[in-house]
Amino acid sequence: MFFDHLVLGATGEFLNIGDILATLVIFIGLMLLLKKFAWGPLMGVMQQREDLIKSEIETAENSRLESQKMLEEQRGLLKDARTQAQEIVENAKKQGEVSREEIITTARAESSRMKEAAVQEIANERDKAISAVREEVVALSLLAATKVLEKEISEEDNRQLINETIAKAGEVQ
């Protein structure tokens, strides 16, 4: 009597085939229904998310590589620009040097030319002045001599004489 409780399924003298069938049918039915209505869609979404994450990672990787490439490119461009700028500055400097040299040369030539011209002019003027003075001296001397001598001497002879005297005087000078 007491041990009856320890017998499995001690609900009678028969095997509960019905319970076994019910358990199987209900459990398998539940499994199929859930697979169709719950687990299937859920697994689909999880798979979708996995794919999404995978593609996102790929995209991120790609854009990272692309930006790396672009950065490299920009760096190259910057370097080029810098070199070019340096070149331009260098050229400008050289150009400036050349034009400075040119200007200086021109100025120097101009000034020496002007100086020469001035010297020439001065010399001319001096000569002119000397001639004028000489002329004046001759005239004066002639006048003086005429007055002193009061003598009729041919103008031609006088002039020759006086000129000689003055030339001598000029040489002595």
């Binding site: 019905g18 319970d19 687990w39």
Partner: protein
Amino acid sequence: MEHGAPMHEVFGIWFNLSNVMMLLVAALIVFLIAFVATRNLQLKPTGMQNFMEWIMDFVKGIINSNMDWKDGGRFHVLGITLIMFIFVANMLGLPFAIVVNGDLWWKSPTADPTVTMTLAATVLILSHYYGIKLKGLKGYAGGYIKPMPFLFPLKVIEEFANTLTLGLRLYGNIYAGEILLTLLAGLASASIFGFAAAILPMMLWQGFSIFIGAIQAFIFVMLTMVYLSHKVADDH
């Protein structure tokens, strides 16, 4: 304390109507939870979807700890359904028991050995089926003489022992829990002093039974996967 069962005969097959009803209730609850939780699925999960995904990942973890996902992926649905069904079934008997005309109607369906043994036998039969399907008849039969041929008798006994222990472990835990709850409920309803004495152990035991119910559901699924992997996986 010892209640009868509402037996009913249909075409010479005996049904325990209490078991049938409680199995249906458990199945309905599991289905509703899963169905409601998986409406309006989103890539960015919220609320219940998170919970269901956690269960899926949990079972996936159990499977992965036993075999390759390549082999074990096919058991994912079985594992999730098993763990939820057994857990809900274990919980059903905790809040109350309903007895009508001396017949016990409301209880955990897993407090009946017929139900648990059916589940256990199903799992073991599945393991043999997949063992033959995936490794071929030769590979399957070879499993009985590995690592040593003289272990063959033990291997055969093991198959039956596995079935028995898998089913009876679950049954024993839940049935014992319900017996104690019934005793405490009897004490509580006996007198005002009995109620005062029973209320604390009742709460403690119910809390513990929730823990046991969860653990047993986990163990059942874990062992299911272990047995399946023994038959399916190449190395173990």
